[in-house]
């Protein structure tokens, strides 16, 4: 057994994800024709041999519970240890409202964290599309011998990130909060390897001072007040934290590029997911499918281009789809035309219907909608 325990934050329901998180958390957002975002965190842990994992959730977790099930898909259904879903149970005040921040979420499950038999915890976001090699992270962490290692991206300046600025010793010296644009520092992917006792100390001080945020409160205390030592691990592959419809749409489209897809789904670190497909996808006599990702169990008789199609979808003859995401079991009837549409599960588009969004502002169609 590895001396590491996984904690996944799956409680976020980001307002900017609008209808997509009406009934689910960002972590259970369907992604890339067959996955949910949380599959990346679960698979990263599984591929590093970390099978003892707590998933912090708070509200709208029906779809998350349904997806994870017994956690067999990630080999986390164990006789001892394995995966635990963690609803708020620490203190009564956590049962209402949203968690204000990560430290509050951790404190809400503090009894669980105190009982973790391992000495180290790996903290990961449930709503990130990235295949992180945690084996490599842990190797580097052990070599550095620090209290913590932050998982960071070499990534570009285009989205807002917390950034770490390193000192001469190569360890973190300063933290810059939510910077957008071309600033100095290394963007954080908000994943950490932490010494458990040190993390408990941070949780305790935040509790005592009424603080609840991870980066603003806990990390500033850790870095500036107690001089905590933190190393930085750079993840070189693709990584996107999904907090808005734009980010979701962009990351989905990115996966159409072979290079991105191979970084997200490398053969030696497979992304595992719950399996419900029993049958292949059928392409009809008039079908055309260009630059698209398609799940199993679909019947494609129309034309799709630059699309992400989840399993169980039907695209009727003469239908034309461009730049669309169709989640599970959507039906697009004959001759319908959809451009730049994100259709949530079970949406139905009747024959000849037309719906046009734009690449910058895709139209989101909520679950079970009939058009």
């Amino acid at each position: 057994m590895r001396d590491y325990h996984g904690i996944i934050f799956a409680y976020h329901d980001e307002p900017a994800l609008r209808d997509l998180t009406a009934n689910r958390t960002a972590a259970s957002l369907p992604f890339c024709s067959r996955y949910r975002l949380i599959d990346f965190a679960l698979s990263s842990l599984r591929n590093a041999g970390i099978l003892d994992v707590g998933v912090i959730m708070q509200r709208d977790y029906q779809s998350l519970l349904d997806h994870i099930g017994s956690s067999k898909a990630w080999d986390m259904s164990r006789k001892s240890g394995g995966l635990r879903m963690l609803p708020p149970f620490g203190l009564p005040q956590y049962h209402t409202g949203n968690y204000n921040g990560t430290m509050e979420a951790l404190n809400a499950v503090s009894t669980y964290i105190r009982r973790i038999p391992q000495k180290h915890v790996v903290l990961l976001l449930g709503n990130m599309a990235a295949n992180i090699d945690l084996d490599a992270v842990i190797r580097q962490h052990e070599k550095a011998g620090t209290d913590a290692t932050a998982i960071c991206s070499e990534g570009g300046p285009e989205t807002s990130h917390n950034r770490y600025i390193l000192g001469e010793d190569g360890l973190v010296k300063y933290i810059d909060l939510f910077r957008t644009g071309n600033w100095v520092g290394i963007p954080s992917l908000e994943g950490y390897v932490f010494n458990k006792d040190k993390l408990l100390e941070l949780m305790d001080i935040c509790q005592a001072r009424g603080l609840y945020r991870f980066h603003q409160d806990a990390m500033t205390y850790f870095l500036y007040e107690i001089g905590g030592k933190m190393d930085v691990y750079i993840h070189h592959g693709y990584a996107r934290i999904i907090r808005s419809v734009d980010e979701y749409y962009e990351a989905s489209r990115d996966a159409l590029t072979p290079a991105v897809r191979h970084e997200l789904f490398p053969a030696d670190r497979p992304v595992r997911t719950k399996i419900h497909e029993h049958v292949s996808t059928y392409y009809g006599e008039q079908a055309a499918s260009r630059n698209s990702l398609v799940g199993d169990n679909c019947i494609i008789e129309g034309e799709i281009e630059d699309c992400i199609v989840f399993s169980g979808c039907k695209v009727g003859p003469g239908a034309k789809l461009r730049g669309c995401i169709l989640m599970r079991n959507c039906v697009v009837e004959a001759k319908a035309r959809l451009n730049f549409v994100i259709a949530d599960k079970n949406s139905h588009f009747s024959a000849n219907s037309v719906l046009v969004g734009s690449p910058k502002l895709p139209t989101v169609v909520p679950k079970d909608a009939k058009i």
Binding site: R34, H278, T281, Y282, Y283, D296, I299
Partner: protein, 397 residues
Amino acid sequence: MKKSCIAMLLAGGQGSRLYALTQNVAKPSVPFGGKYRIIDFPLSNCANSGIDTVGVLTQYKPLQLNSYIGTGQPWDLDVSDGGVYILPPYLGAHEQGSWFTGTANAIFQNLAFIENYDPENVLILSGDHIYKMDYAEMLREHLEHDAALTIAVQQVSLEEATRMGIMNVGESGYVEEFEEKPKHPKSDLASMGIYIFNWKKLRQYLIEDDADPNSSKDFGKNIIPNMLKNGEKLWPFRFKGYWRDVGTITSLWDANMDMLSTTLINLYDPEWPISSRSPVCPPHYTGKNAEIIHSIVTEGCEIEGRVENSVLSASVRVGEGAKVLYSVLMPGAVVEPGAVVEYAIVGENTVIKAGARVGTEPDGSEGWGVATCGPDITVRAGAVVPAGAMLYTGEEV
């Protein structure tokens, strides 16, 4: 625990008429229809029919079959008071063990397994048939007609009947005569090799048959004729749906092509799913210039070229400008840019290098046939594999 019916699946056949495809694996674990292996059909039928205890009799190259079946979880057969069991031949401490010498002998050697469940009836299945059948329906008829044995039968043409085991049914509706490959068939009801026996009766017949040195220990040749001779009640269960034996290259290719038509056999029916162990690959990707027409494609595939009237298994790659027509590509097969694969079966992980040609369309000549490449072969760039060819693993092409 007492069971009403358990299943015994005969998966020990060598499948010698599939040549290169069964060079290293048993016939039931040959990939089929995109997502499946042949054995998925009887296993899924069992699960869907509510039969939760299945013994799988293996003896020929069972390694891949064993690891494929595993705990039986993909078919929901991982239950605590039953499940799926791999039953290889074994040696006892005192008695002499041996390979299974016939279909009846295979069951006889596993009397102890069956007695463990003390079932009222035993369903005997083959591991090389493609079909969807509700065994619960068959069991209901079996019990209703108080039969010692119920045999699934299908109507065939009289010409086909000369190559099959034919049941002659009397006025009572029970089977009165069984003829193996009759020259002049008296009936068109062919046995499908699917039997439900009353276990007490079968047990007695197996023990008697084992003691007979002249018996070839076969259900069709010995057990069924003996039961008829003794006047046991044999009921024919008439099955009308799709059913194919896939024991030869041609029949395997034909049945794969049938999977492109939902009117022959509907694999999309959520009421009767055929399940399989999934490799969990990313969704399939169709490239900017891909053309896919009247074909089935599944997870892990990357298609840049043209695919027409074909069945593609998981993780198949078809390069830019390559053509795959009327072909069956097994898991991990690669067709490099510019290569052409026509009327062919390409085995697991076989690579057809750039510009190579495998198979040709039917030209009416006598020598024409489906070209077959076994698994793990590399067909060199520009090489030509003619129609009807059979390439074995390890051969240089």
